[in-house]
């Protein structure tokens, strides 16, 4: 599904990613962990085409297509979704209008007719339940006045609406209490199919108790320095990152 080869990226001339190699197959869930500043969020930003970052080297193939050649909105249409670490507020724009634009743009890209208003609202009702988002929340402006937990639930709600092939969850667990974490994780698990893949970016083992990864990577100084099974996350939780730094000869 996703093949990242020797990916280098920088922001304001400073290189953050220094040769990432990563392959994600359909149905797999990968966790990417690592200390602060190792490049985790940069990787997710680059994959969805955030214009603040410049790719200087390497390639990314998604479903056989050159992902880096696609505009951000087309990457979305092709099935790449990012659950933002800090979802932005868009005052005055209702969730209904926002989602209707998103869903219908995607349908247009795939040569499907726009959904009728009633079909669309039905879809919203159905998907809302998945993350226990109440009706009032959906009729409010995008993320405006939402609590931290509500914002993250809203991200997963949007994921449900857009049915992506690859979802990147960037620190979706940060700022969530246990109940909210369970709701969000349940939502992600319910959306999982044998064809869809997830990349979880997280600091903590906590999220991985709810969403089981197949593979765990450690990102350090812009490179993936260790890859193993779920047991690696437990080990990191117990021992921290210092032993990895040591292994790196520091």
């Amino acid at each position: 599904m996703l093949k990242i080869k020797d990916l280098h990226a920088s922001i304001d001339g400073k290189e953050i990613l220094k040769g990432i190699n990563l392959t994600v197959k359909p149905g797999e869930t990968h966790a990417i962990m690592g200390p602060n500043g190792s490049g985790k969020s940069t990787l997710s930003s680059v994959l969805v085409g955030n214009p603040s970052f410049e790719v200087t080297q390497g390639s990314v193939e998604f479903m056989g297509k050159d992902l880096l050649a696609l505009a951000p909105e087309d990457r979305s249409h092709e099935g790449v979704f990012l659950s933002f670490q800090y979802p932005v507020e868009i005052p005055g724009v209702s969730m209904v209008n926002f989602m209707r634009a998103a869903v219908n743009e995607k349908r247009k890209y795939h040569n499907l007719p726009a959904l009728s208003a009633s079909d669309f609202l039905k879809l919203m009702r159905e998907k809302r339940k998945l993350v226990e988002l109440d009706n009032k929340l959906a009729s409010r402006a995008v993320n405006e006045g939402f609590s931290g937990g509500e914002k993250k639930r809203n991200e997963i709600f949007q994921m449900a609406m857009l049915e992506p092939k690859l979802s990147i969850l960037d620190e979706t667990d940060s700022g969530l209490d246990i109940d909210a974490l369970r709701i969000v994780a349940d939502g992600v698990n319910k959306l999982k199919t044998p064809e869809t893949s997830n990349i979880l970016i997280t600091h903590y083992q906590r999220l991985l108790d709810y969403i089981k990864p197949d593979v765990v990577h450690v990102l350090y100084k812009g490179k993936i320095v260790k890859t193993a099974g779920p047991e690696l996350a437990l080990e990191l939780e117990e021992r921290g990152y210092d032993w990895i730094k040591k292994e790196m000869g520091e």
């Binding site: 933002f84 932005v88 209008n97 634009a101």
Partner: protein
């Protein structure tokens, strides 16, 4: 990047879809302005003597005036002798035609603008007075409205058919001495609409006037006069477009509204004159004086405007709250892109007791444009318990444009409660990228965000116009973020 620039350029140039010209024989009088021209216009309109007198007084006064320099606008010198002051597209070369027959070319033009002049094709519940250049082409539903006692006709017809009403009210709210452009208009105005709602009548349709400039090197100077008698109600809409030309064109209008006891008038404008091209060449100069008086007790006047067009806009739809317990509202969205300039706002003059006014102004600037809100809230000595709430928000797209707010508050009564709030914000890249990630293109994202920002004002428009206005906002800003 090259590709992207080309795309942006294409969009900004294509965006104005009303830029076509109608090829029709138009009788245009010679360029220039003097007393003979004023007399000629009056003669062409077969006006009574009192009307000519009014025009001449206004003209002589205009000669003593200078163009106002206080607006935050850079207005190139206007040569008033290089403009033709009368253009009539309804006059055929081969002799006069009956008034009821409208040239099919004109019907086609208005069809193209989405304004069908055949009553059977009309948008439900909307009567239209269609004005092209200096002449009203056709007014629909005139007869059926007449059955209720409502007068809805061209201004010229009103002068002929209802001289007593025109004489009584014309110039009573905006006198010819009011300002430079009001004096000019009073001297050379050609057509416009007249609305009279009798006592106790609720107008069953939306009344609207569609102004179209077509002829080259002409100015359009129309007047609208709306009189709402006691306990009546009317909602009136105004739309405007012009062809895409390299030369600037002048449009200087006057709107006067009189609202009597417990009557209510809603006046909505969607102004979409040709704004000029991406480099600031061409476009309409829109210098308009609009004012209404809440004359009666508990009367209500509400202005809603969506201003997206014109190279330069100078316009302050205002209210005089002279009746006790009267209410006035001003809701405005003004969008400027490329090199457009707008200096717009309102005046709320509180004279009666327990009067209240609301001002909601949303300015959106993009490109190299300058967008100013200018407003006055005045509470006179005898205006006990006056209340005003003002909210002026500015939204900036990009860093080459300007947003300015000039609020004036002048209070002469201690019981007044006046509130003023102002904000300035920028559409940030994070918001746009968030939309991009959800599959919404940058152009569409800006449209969504701007419409969200202007929602409070758009919601005040009648429904058909609200949908149009939403589209217009997005189109006006296309290509504004590269």
């Amino acid at each position: 990047m090259e590709e992207a620039n080309k795309y942006v350029k294409q969009l900004t140039q294509e965006k104005y879809k009303y830029g076509f010209t109608t090829d029709i024989h138009t009788e245009v009088i010679e360029k220039g302005l003097n007393e003979d021209v004023v007399r000629l216009i009056s003669e062409k309109k077969e006006e009574p003597e009192w009307m000519l007198e009014f025009r001449l007084k206004a003209f002589r006064h205009w000669l003593t005036l200078e163009m106002p320099t206080w607006p935050h606008l850079r207005i190139p010198e206007i040569d008033y002798q290089a403009i033709s002051y009368y253009a009539d597209p309804t006059k055929k070369k081969d002799g006069p035609k009956s008034l009821d027959e409208v040239d099919p070319e004109l019907i086609k033009t208005f069809d193209k603008l989405g304004i069908p002049l055949q009553e059977r094709l009309a948008l439900s519940g909307i009567a239209v007075d269609a004005v092209m250049d200096s002449v009203s082409v056709k007014t629909t539903f005139k007869e059926s409205l007449r059955e209720k006692g409502i007068i809805f006709c061209s201004f010229s017809e009103a002068v002929r058919e209802h001289p007593e009403l025109v004489r009584k009210y014309m110039g009573s709210v905006v006198g010819y001495r009011d300002n430079f452009y009001a004096a000019l208009n009073s001297a050379v105005f050609s057509d416009g609409s007249f609305v009279y709602i009798p006592k106790g009548v609720r107008c069953p349709m939306e009344l609207s006037t569609y102004f179209r400039i077509n002829a080259i090197n002409t100015g359009q100077f129309e007047r609208t006069l709306i009189v709402a008698e006691d306990d009546s109600y009317v909602s009136y809409l105004e739309g405007c477009t012009a062809p895409q030309r390299d030369e600037n064109q002048l449009h200087a209008a006057i709107v006067e509204i009189i609202v009597n006891d417990r009557a209510e008038v809603k006046y909505s404008t969607v102004q979409n004159w040709y704004p000029g091209d991406a480099n600031g060449k061409g476009g309409v100069y829109n210098f308009v004086t609009k004012r209404g008086i809440c004359k009666g007790e508990s009367s209500k006047l509400s202005w809603t405007q969506v201003e997206t067009g014109s190279a330069i806009t100078w316009k302050y739809p205002s209210c005089i709250l002279s009746g006790d317990n009267s209410t006035a509202e001003f809701y405005s969205v003004a969008v400027t892109n490329n090199y457009q300039q707008a200096d717009t706002g309102t005046k709320m003059i509180h004279l009666g007791k327990n009067t209240s006014s609301t001002i909601i102004s949303k300015g959106i600037s993009a490109g190299f444009s300058q967008n100013s809100y200018r407003g006055l809230v005045k509470v006179a000595e005898k205006a006990e318990n006056a209340r005003n709430y003002s909210e002026c928000d500015s939204l900036l797209l990009g860093d080459k444009c300007g947003a300015h707010t000039f609020p004036y508050i002048d209070i002469h009564n201690n019981t007044a409660v006046v509130e003023h709030e102002a904000t300035t914000s920028k559409i940030n890249e994070d918001q746009i990228f968030y939309c991009n990630q959800r599959g919404i293109s940058t152009e569409d994202a800006i449209g969504l965000i701007v419409n969200g920002y202007a929602k409070d004002v758009i919601n005040k428009l009648p429904m058909e116009f609200a949908v149009e206005a939403q589209k217009l906002l997005s189109i006006s800003l296309e290509g504004s973020v590269g």
